[in-house]
């Protein structure tokens, strides 16, 4: 779920832009500058992954994977997500030009939190990594939903109902994100464990 134009008060939208820009600069500093082109190419991979739709009963939900992005990219994840949203603007998908900063915060902050969480608790055995990855996936979705609701609430009491519904809509997604993140991390732990190490493609 992305925030569209015209929903947030202008001051909030502008403030989110400023905060996102600052965080993106921080994120770029934390990545080695010669690695930034690599980060760009990996962003393309995450973008493609986020286009995958998972069947859910009669409908389907598309993955957000802030947890996975954070777990794999660490502090660089914020820059990567901002880049992804910019791409989304460019392609004929979600516009959200004025809400770009808010959307970057909504996805990027959870990704940073999940990256820290995953690296702090992942341990060594693949099963444990998989479980921690799943928890990171759930955490990422919960945080994203909370940030979304918080941003909507800045519009005043008129927006409280919508914020509640938006929170509820994320509940089934939490389970799916957790399972997918967990399985994916488990797969990577077996197939290419160095991707899960903190030193790979991220700031020293």
């Amino acid at each position: 779920m992305h925030i569209s134009d015209g929903v947030l008060p202008t001051a909030v939208a502008v403030g989110c832009y400023g905060l996102s820009a600052a965080l993106a600069v921080w994120s770029a500093r934390r990545s080695r500058s010669r690695e930034l082109p690599k980060l760009a190419v990996m962003t393309a991979a995450f973008f493609v992954a986020s286009l995958v739709h998972v069947p859910f009963g009669p409908t389907s939900v598309h993955l957000i994977i802030p947890g996975l992005t954070g777990a794999l990219l660490g502090p660089s994840a914020f820059l990567s997500i901002g880049l992804g949203l910019l791409l989304q603007c460019l392609l004929f998908q979600f516009g959200g030009l004025t809400a770009l900063g808010a959307n970057a915060l909504m996805m990027g902050l959870p990704a940073l939190a999940c990256g820290w969480f995953f690296q702090a608790f992942k341990g060594v055995p693949p099963l444990r990594q998989s479980i921690v990855g799943g928890l990171a996936g759930a955490l990422g979705t919960v945080l994203a939903a909370l940030v979304l609701a918080g941003l909507l609430m800045t519009g005043g009491e008129d927006f409280a109902g919508v914020a509640k519904i938006a929170l509820l809509a994320h509940v089934p997604v939490i389970l799916i994100e957790a399972l997918v993140s967990g399985f994916t991390v488990g797969f990577l732990a077996r197939v290419k464990p160095e991707l899960l190490k903190p030193a790979y493609l991220r700031g020293a």
Binding site: I3, L8, A28, G96, A160, I165
Partner: protein
């Protein structure tokens, strides 16, 4: 003391008065989806992405000739102006202006429709939820059906949601004139000349390029899964298979990333791409920018002053 106007209605009148106007956009969205689906081959997942951005040849419209720097600044500032409108009237006028811009820029209808479809879900949520959840204030009009006082349909909420929708649509319609009336490298070059770090533009170019590569790779992998009998269902096995698919996608992408970067360095990449074309700022560009921003300011004045 809440002093709202309560109007009691039998059920059928509610359908007529309120649900019918809501049904129109819903049907429109359903039709758009149908059109999109029909474009992709039967039995396959719809193609979720990505036509190439602007055609290098370009059209001859104002937007194509407008200096990319002043175009970006103007339309970004104008978008924020639109986003801060509060009433439906000016927001609808903004949609009109956007439509005019679309016609002038000769934007392809299909891409514009896709953009509208992309915001339909989020905006639809506001249209459905807000009338029922907005707190009742002084002089609100609330429609109450069959005496169900708990489920009042607040017209102020509907108006609020409609204004949000109109603003979102107006800005979404401007994306095509803003972004696809110049080739992507030129737009990004303009951004970097405006003070955005050059590396960001390069990263967008690289991601955009490899987005297509990885998408094709993903499609090949999905085709392979289908051949081996994979069908999507709502169960754990589907999720496990999809996760392995994602993991494999990441592994391959990381490996390709390494190769790409080595190849770039082998060709002498030192953190810069060549400048696509020199930019020139003419008086007409500035004039257009000023006129456009004045239009936005006029809309805001109308929004705030008119009764």
């Amino acid at each position: 003391m809440v002093n709202a106007i309560h109007i009691h209605l039998p059920l059928w009148q509610l359908f007529l008065l309120v649900l019918a106007p809501l049904a129109v956009p819903a049907i429109l969205v359903a039709w758009l989806r149908h059109v999109v689906r029909r474009r992709s081959a039967p039995g396959e997942d719809p193609d979720w992405s990505v036509p190439p951005l602007a055609d290098e040849a370009g059209g001859g419209s104002w937007f194509h000739r407008w200096d990319v720097r002043s175009k970006i600044v103007t339309l970004l500032a104008y978008s924020f102006m639109i986003a801060s409108l509060q009433r439906l009237g000016p927001a609808l006028a903004a949609i009109g202006i956007s439509l005019l811009a679309l016609i002038i820029a000769r934007a392809p209808l299909a891409k514009v429709l896709m953009r509208l479809l992309a915001i339909a879900g989020f905006v639809g949520m506001f249209l459905v939820v807000m009338p029922f959840t907005v707190p009742v204030r002084h002089a609100d009009t609330v429609l109450i059906v069959n005496g169900l006082t708990g489920l009042g349909f607040n017209l102020r909420g509907l108006a609020l949601a409609a204004a949000i929708t109109a603003k979102a649509v107006a800005i979404a319609l401007l994306m095509e004139p803003l972004l696809s009336t110049a080739p992507l490298p030129v737009t990004l070059h303009g951004l970097s000349r405006l003070g955005v770090p050059e590396m960001l533009g390069q990263m967008v170019l690289l991601s955009h390029r490899y987005l297509h590569v990885f998408r094709h790779e993903a499609q090949r992998m999905v085709a392979g899964m289908r051949v081996r009998g994979f069908r999507q269902r709502t169960d754990l096995e589907t999720l496990r298979a999809l996760s392995n698919f994602l993991g494999m996608l990441f592994v391959r992408s990381f490996e390709r990333t390494e190769r790409v970067f080595e190849a770039m360095q082998a060709r002498g990449y030192k953190g810069r791409f060549p400048e696509p074309r020199p930019l020139r700022l003419r008086a007409a560009d500035l004039l257009l920018a000023v006129a456009w921003l004045a239009l936005g300011a006029a809309l805001i004045v109308w929004d705030r002053l008119a009764v």
